[in-house]
């Protein structure tokens, strides 16, 4: 309780509250603009947060992360264009409702479900934190190595149909992390005699190139377009209250969101699928799913908004980011010499609680904002796409150049921007590169320290959590192969699959 109060005090400073307000409102606007996601905004703002206190910088980034999905549901429902990738499932039921003249109801349900999902997940984590504080110290070097390996395996397997490409990109990320002077034997690795590679390839440069510049180049090189507006009339707050008719589904969405968010490499898509399937199987009108079902909409939005809070768990408790956005936040910790990991939950619980309270506050701020401003947001998002590309490149410059005022960094970022553009056009994922880069470094360090007392390979798994993680990795690989074979046997015609499910990443 004392930690909770101390965490609350930590937040009650003007700088933190201002950062929270800017992050929350900025996140909604950024999330609502198709073509800019939370990843682009966080990548651009990262270097600017390095000069701030860790709690101020992280609050701003968390504000963007937690609120972008609220914004992303707006164009998903009104114009069938998801603002962020995780709002793609929202279009399935949200847009048909708009076509039936139920835009206000659909938006209200989406916002209400997002709010319930966000708040319930944070409350669950606040109550779970004392347990996590006891479990986290049981993670030694071996367990952290295996958890990072699990993250890599999951992020590869999550890209079915492109598993080989995702594997290659994850290995490329691990490779990028090894370039430069290594700290044990002090030898150069893959520097090819080039001085600028001796200090390694900076994660922020790669992130800015792959997420921000690539999106800018993509929008600039494509034909111009601008989302059309659609007005919403009526009392949004009353529409939001409609979510209480679907308490069971919103609760399930929060539960799945928390569980899936905590597992590295899994995230929103799995949480959404599990909740959506649960809602459909237990519905009295399962045939309406995909044709404007309120339950389907609540399932999708409650699950995705429950993930950000839970995704902070592996980051804070183990120092392992589960996806790209938390990987970016890890660099804020490193810059301030705060090492997230088991010790953080034991010695700085107030800091952890402060982040959770910040997330509760951001949900309250955002729900008030979206309740009042849906029509205003629809006007803002009508920016022509090529002009938007120009703004992203201009902002991308600040991010890269302010790091070290280095022209080489900018050239590298531009190179990664072109690589990101190609990957996006190919519908190939970027996240495995970032996770490979971050988790590869963690695996190298932890394997080295973890092997100190290991005599035979089996000794590596002689502790319960290590054994559990080892079994989980093996089971996942077996389940993946089994799933692929089973899908092949079912022989569903290719035309019946939704080929554009992930197309939102190119917008």
């Amino acid at each position: 309780m004392a930690d909770l109060i101390a965490g609350f005090h930590m937040l009650m400073t003007p700088a933190v509250l201002f950062a929270l307000l800017i992050g929350s409102l900025g996140g909604v606007i950024i999330g609502a603009i198709p073509g800019v996601g939370a990843a682009v905004a966080i990548a651009i703002l990262l270097p600017a947060t390095f000069s701030m206190e860790p709690i101020v910088g992280l609050t701003m980034l968390l504000g963007i992360y937690g609120s972008s999905m609220y914004g992303g549901s707006l164009p998903a429902i009104l114009i069938n264009t998801p603002g962020t990738a995780v709002n793609a499932l929202t279009t399935y039921d949200g847009y048909p409702m708009t076509q039936r003249g139920e835009a206000l109801k659909a938006l209200g349900l989406a916002y209400g479900a997002s709010f319930i999902g966000g708040i319930l997940s944070i409350c669950a984590l606040i109550f779970l934190s004392p347990v996590l504080a006891k479990v986290a110290p049981m993670f030694g070097s071996r367990e952290i190595f295996l958890a990072a390996l699990l993250g890599i395996v999951l992020v590869i397997l999550a890209h079915r149909g492109q598993t080989f490409a995702a594997g290659s990109l994850a290995c490329f990320g691990i490779f990028l992390g090894t370039v430069g002077l290594e700290p044990i034997q002090y030898t150069q690795r893959f520097t090819f005699g080039l001085t600028f590679l001796s200090s390694g390839i900076n994660l922020i440069v790669v992130v800015l190139g792959l997420f921000a510049l690539s999106q800018g180049f993509l929008l600039l090189s494509q034909p111009d377009g601008a989302p059309q507006g659609q007005r919403v009339q009526g009392n949004m707050f009353r529409a939001m209250a409609g979510v209480f008719r679907h308490k069971r589904i919103a609760g399930a969405g929060s539960g799945f969101g928390v569980l899936m968010g905590m597992i590295p490499g899994v995230g929103e898509f799995t949480a959404q699928f599990l909740t959506y399937t649960y809602a459909q199987k237990t519905s009295k009108t399962p045939e309406q799913f995909g044709n404007g079902s309120s339950e389907g909409l609540v399932a999708s939005e409650s699950a995705n908004n429950a993930v950000p809070a839970a995704a902070m768990i592996p980051l804070l408790a183990l120092g392992i980011p589960g996806e790209a956005l938390t990987a970016m936040m890890l660099s804020v910790f490193y810059v301030h010499n705060v090492v997230p990991g088991p010790a953080l939950f034991q010695t700085q619980m107030d800091f952890v609680y402060a982040l959770y309270i910040a997330m509760i506050l951001l949900n309250v701020i955002v729900v008030i904002f979206v309740g009042l401003s849906s029509n205003l947001l629809m006007k803002i998002i009508r920016i022509p796409t090529r002009f938007l590309g120009m703004t992203i490149v201009t902002l991308g410059f600040v991010g890269v150049y302010s790091l070290r005022n280095s022209m080489t960094d900018c050239a590298l970022a531009a190179g990664f921007g072109l690589l990101g553009l190609v990957l996006k056009r190919q519908n190939l994922p970027i996240v495995p590169i970032i996770l490979g880069m971050v988790l590869g470094g963690i695996m190298e360090t932890k394997l080295r320290s973890g092997m100190a007392r290991v005599k035979t390979p089996l000794d590596f798994f002689d502790r319960p959590i290590a054994a559990l993680l080892g079994v989980a990795i093996v089971l996942l690989l077996v389940a993946h192969v089994w799933g692929v074979l089973r899908e092949r046997r079912r022989n569903i015609p290719d035309a019946e699959h939704d080929h554009d499910m992930h197309d939102s990443q190119t917008r």
Partner: protein, 177 residues
């Protein structure tokens, strides 16, 4: 959405074969250079070997890229490969614009370079008329004021500012714009 896989599955696009081939060639280039670019020390343990993790990464890239290429070869050909590659090349122009902006900033200073970049690129993109010029200018000024003036990000003053008469205006320009 018909199956669980739909939520995760990404489908091939034109140019898949080309990207798979490039990826394999790059991985092979790294593999050939592995012995010379990462050392295997005589008296160090395997887990402390400098070449261990680059080796794991590069071999992983070779294996996965080869399987990716194999998948592309045995799959039906999707028309439009050449057009897709030309699309990639078209984007190089904008990387050039970005690098020109990077080159300009140390000479012109952050505010003038950003104004020049935003207005010139807006014109290049085909937006005409005073309204677009105004929007681009306001955006450029807002970015500089927020990031350099307010957030104090580290961007050095332009060489051209040295030409300004010494006094509070020059100091202000050098510190905030």
């Amino acid at each position: 959405m018909k199956t669980f896989q739909d939520l995760f599955k990404r489908y091939r696009r034109p140019g898949d074969f080309f990207i798979a081939l490039l990826s394999l060639l790059f991985a092979l280039f790294l593999l050939v250079n592995l012995p010379g670019q990462a050392q295997w020390m005589d008296r160090a343990k395997t887990v402390a070997q400098p070449a261990l993790w680059p080796g794991i990464a590069v071999i992983g890239m070779v294996v996965f890229s080869a399987l990716h290429l194999l998948g592309a070869i045995v799959s039906d050909r999707i028309p439009g490969r050449m057009a897709e590659v030309l699309e990639w090349l078209r984007a190089v122009e904008y990387a050039g614009w970005f690098m020109a902006y990077v080159w300009l900033v140390p000479y012109l200073g952050y505010l003038p370079a950003t104004l020049v970049f935003c207005i010139a690129l807006t014109l290049r993109l085909g937006y005409r008329g005073w309204r677009w010029m105004l929007v681009a200018s306001v955006f450029a000024i807002a970015v500089v004021v927020i990031f350099k003036g307010f957030l104090q990000v580290r961007i050095p003053a332009g060489a051209i500012y040295e030409w300004l008469p010494s006094g509070p205006f020059r100091t202000f320009m050098m510190s905030y714009l």
